[in-house]
């Protein structure tokens, strides 16, 4: 069977005909397999949803109890037979509960990796390499200028700034699912043990991380705290909030933004960021290319992001590669990014 007979892009998303399901569908379908909880991958209104427990929980938090007709949780490594194919979920290292989905039909295995990163993250299971014949990779940071470096170094930049400006508040723009919790965990690892403040939109999901046993130290809502008391503190907020009237409650705030896009100055300046922190939920160029090579896949399908450059790289390495035209991805928290960068084309993503 040809790989494209197992999985093929259709307007609703990646469709597996022999298995009777879609992966991360952007339109309501009968049966959906969801890689992770970001809103561009996990949408409400499907008939049946198969995902990790964490992803199901996050969808419930976000969309309410009846976000799908029925749900089924699958553990990492567990195999489930669906129609003519076998599927299994494997850690993607992207956010808590994120998974790559391996679809095996006869002796052909395709791995749809969703969003992934191979860098260390104390808030989720590390990326697992799944050998396969066809590897479907994202390309959010698919240019060699994107090398994210050590996230701990970026966090120490933030802490140095807090030390230098004790009379100012530090606002860190970070996506509310995954990035915010990772920044908090990294701050704790760096020895920062003061309370960390949260924008209201961050609270539910962050407390959920704590419930799942991720230690994040003392967290407080920023709401209701006196302005003067916020001097010298760190607050996590969705990126859109950092350019909002909401910031007026903070004393002379330093606006930071934790994102892989912060690597490029024009992007950081565009958003009016004063302290760019290069911390990404996605693999950087070195991560993408190393992962592609390590899967052993002879064929690479490249989706959402800088497909052209990554496809070119694959070809120079003798790999069959093509861009996979999937629409609707890469706009998690679209509103947030649009507000921050002044772009509303949806080409932005969780980063």
């Amino acid at each position: 069977m040809r790989p494209q007979d197992i999985l093929m892009p259709v307007p609703a998303g990646l469709c597996c005909k022999p298995g009777g399901f879609h992966i991360d569908p952007v339109r309501p379908v009968e049966r959906a397999l969801i890689t992770h909880g970001h809103s561009d991958h996990a949408r409400p209104g499907h008939g049946a949803v198969l995902a990790t427990q964490e992803t199901l929980d996050m969808m419930r938090l976000r969309y309410g109890d009846d976000f799908a007709g029925s749900t089924q949780a699958i553990a990492y490594g567990e195999e489930i037979r669906l129609g003519d194919v076998t599927v299994s979920f494997h850690p993607a290292g992207h956010v808590l509960g994120s998974a790559q989905i391996a679809v095996t039909c006869k002796d052909t295995r395709i791995v749809a990796s969703g969003d992934y990163k191979d860098a260390r993250d104390p808030t989720c299971a590390p990326f697992e390499l799944v050998p396969c014949d066809v590897f479907i990779t994202e390309a959010t940071f698919g240019l060699p200028v994107f090398r994210h470096g050590d996230a701990a170094g970026e966090v120490s930049k933030l802490l140095a700034s807090v030390k230098l400006f004790p009379e100012r508040a530090h606002l860190v723009g970070a996506y509310s699912l995954g990035k915010a919790q990772r920044v908090i965990a990294l701050l704790r690892e760096a020895g920062y043990d003061a309370p960390i403040y949260l924008h209201g939109a961050m609270e539910k999901i962050t407390y959920y991380y704590q419930e799942r046993g991720i230690p994040l130290g003392e967290l407080r809502p920023a709401r209701g705290v006196k302005k003067a008391d916020l001097a010298g503190t760190i607050t996590l907020a969705p990126p859109s909030a950092t350019s909002d009237v909401w910031t007026r409650r903070f004393p002379d705030p330093v606006t930071a933004f934790a994102s892989g896009w912060m690597r490029v100055r024009a992007r950081a300046r565009q958003g009016g960021v004063e302290l760019p922190l290069v911390i990404s939920d996605h693999a950087d160029w070195d991560g993408l290319t190393a992962t592609i090579a390590a899967t052993g896949a002879g064929e690479i399908w490249v989706t959402h992001g800088q497909e052209d450059a990554l496809v070119h790289w694959c070809k120079t390495k003798g790999l069959a590669a093509r861009p996979l035209d999937l629409v609707g991805y890469g706009d998690e928290d679209e509103g947030e990014t649009a507000a921050l960068t002044g772009e509303a084309n949806g080409g932005e993503t969780t980063a």
Binding site: L143, P144, V145, F146, R147, L164, F165, D252
Partner: protein, 551 residues
């Protein structure tokens, strides 16, 4: 270097003045000598070394990266130095004893003395050793494109704040200080005496010009600028002052602040009034400026013999006055400094020192014409020593370094192509009886497979009166068709007139069939000797266009 780069990076994003000062003070406090001194020099524009061309940076990356990936990356990032800094491949250095990254001091002191040929390899080594931000700052520094977003004044204010001093105190002593400012920092930290500006003839960091690009003119108003010839000599600063006993001392500095007084003993007596002149060192014979080749024979001589002095009489052509006696004029607008200069030179009344004349113009086209033909635009017999024009904003103070905007240099280094005369039109006024406006073309592949000429521009000056007569005669005898005032002139591979056309720049132009438009084209020679088939092709212009817009 990484620490300095971090500072620059942070300053670039921080909008608040007081916060910038705080960042600077923290840097000065936490950084050792002499690094912080060189940083202060970089921030105040007091560093000078020969800058690397963007082409060199591009070569470095294309040797190391897939050109397709570089192309995608450059498109995305939009800045050459930043693209290279970000995608520079991680060095695979042998063993574990990687050299420590260079300090700012390493970089500055090395660049001062490094030969041009050694620059690429040295840059590559540094790029291997630095992190992303360090590489970015290094490339900005060596290409002279560092835009820090703070003024020299702010940097000095921050230095003053380090020692809780009044910034004005630093301004006053500044001319007597030089990088890495060890005495200044010692005083600021209470470890040393206040540096006194005892030097009666201090060097003042010079103001440099940016090369003007075609696209710059659109945003510039001719009325805001004053123009003067760009002399092909040596930029110098001639400083006179009174020593403690009231005697006049004179010193001549190169533009980098090197004391070159000893090489020009014949000029020193002419500097008999206290002041600081910015000007061009030239050799004049019988009142005529000699070419750079002549001047060169007076340079780098160990012994300055009376014979040499006599054969190569030195001259200072003054174009700015930075100080008049004790008064610092640098904060004044150019027009006011120019007025001071004119009075100063008149008072000097010395045959070895004169004023660089201004070039009157009302529009950029007029100035372009003057620049194309300095001889008839006032430079007269000195035209051979003119290498272009300088544009100076009338309202600009004298700013050390190379600030973008106030000063531009517009060199006379035209591009040349051989084109074929295609159409001619009668001129206006005095020229109304002559065919003096010419449309010319170059070869390109036609639709039917053969070559055809495509018009690429029009020129109506650059030729001598005699040449105008010759072309006019040629046009009248070789007209193939007439359309009103326009004549089609024969332009076949073996029949026609080849014009050598000089021009200043190229732009893409959808309005022209060729897709390119020339800036200030003019006829530089008539190539009666050349058959039209040997004229240039459109591809040559396309390539030139790529190389002009490519970096």
């Amino acid at each position: 270097m990484n620490r300095f780069a971090e500072l620059l990076d942070r300053l670039a994003y921080e909008p608040g003045r007081n916060n910038k000062i705080k960042l600077l003070v923290a840097y000065f406090r936490d950084t050792e000598d002499p690094d912080r001194g060189y940083a202060l020099a970089a921030l105040t524009g007091a560093l000078s070394f020969k800058h690397a061309k963007p082409g060199l940076i591009r070569d470095l990356i294309t040797e190391r990266a897939d050109p397709v990936l570089f192309g995608y990356s450059y498109d995305y990032v939009g800045d050459l130095s930043e693209t290279v800094a970000l995608m520079w491949p991680k060095a695979e250095l042998p063993g574990h004893n990687n050299p420590p990254p260079p300090t700012l001091t390493d970089v500055v002191t090395t660049l001062r003395t490094l030969g041009k040929a050694e620059l690429p390899a040295q840059l590559a080594r540094w790029l291997d050793e630095l992190d992303e931000t360090g590489r970015w700052a290094l490339l900005k520094l060596v290409t002279g494109a560092m835009r820090i977003g703070i003024s020299a004044r702010l940097a000095k204010t921050a230095a003053a704040a380090l020692g809780d001093k009044d910034p004005h105190e630093i301004e006053l002593m500044w001319p007597g200080l030089s990088p890495p400012y060890l005495d200044l920092f010692a005083w600021l930290e209470g470890r040393g005496d206040k540096p006194v500006n005892r030097d009666p003839t201090p060097f003042r960091p010079v103001m440099l010009a940016h090369a003007i690009e075609d696209s710059d003119f659109a945003n510039l108003d001719a009325a805001d600028f004053s123009a003067e010839w760009k002399w092909d000599g040596i930029r110098v600063q001639a400083v006179s002052g009174r020593d403690e006993r009231g005697h006049i001392q004179a010193r001549l500095y190169s533009r980098t602040g090197e004391d070159i007084t000893g090489s020009f003993p014949d000029l020193a007596p002419s500097l008999h009034l206290p002041g600081a002149i910015d000007g061009e060192l030239l050799v004049l014979r019988d009142g005529r400026v000699q070419t750079f080749n002549v001047l060169q024979q007076r340079l780098n001589r160990k012994v300055v013999s009376p014979k040499l002095i006599k054969e190569f009489p030195i001259h200072l052509r003054a174009y700015d006055l930075l100080g008049d006696d004790e008064t610092d004029l640098r904060e004044l607008p150019f027009t006011e400094r120019r007025a001071h200069l004119e009075r100063f030179v008149a008072k000097l009344d010395d045959p070895r020192i004169d004023l660089s004349p201004t070039v009157p113009f009302a529009s950029w086209d007029e100035l372009a014409a003057a620049r194309a033909d300095p001889k008839s635009a006032g430079a007269g017999d000195d035209a051979d020593a003119v290498e272009g024009v300088m544009l100076k904003r009338r309202d600009a103070p004298y700013l050390p370094g190379r600030p973008k905007g106030p000063w531009w240099k517009w060199k006379r280094d035209p591009h040349i192509i051989d084109a074929v005369l295609m159409y001619a039109q009668r001129g206006h006024g005095k020229r109304s009886s002559y065919y003096s406006d010419y449309t010319f073309g170059v070869w390109t592949s036609g639709e039917n497979g053969g070559d055809e000429l495509v018009p690429v521009g029009k020129a109506y000056f650059g030729f001598t009166d005699e040449e105008l007569l010759q072309i006019d005669r040629f046009v009248r005898r070789n007209t193939t068709e007439k359309f009103g005032p326009v004549r089609h002139v024969v332009h076949e591979p073996d029949q026609g007139l080849v014009l050598e056309v000089a021009f200043e720049g190229l732009q893409r132009s959808p309005r022209h069939k060729s897709g390119v438009a020339m800036r200030f084209p003019r006829i530089s020679r008539l190539r009666w000797d050349k058959p039209p088939r040997e004229a240039d092709r459109l591809e040559t212009l396309e390539r030139l266009l790529m190389s002009m817009t490519g970096n």
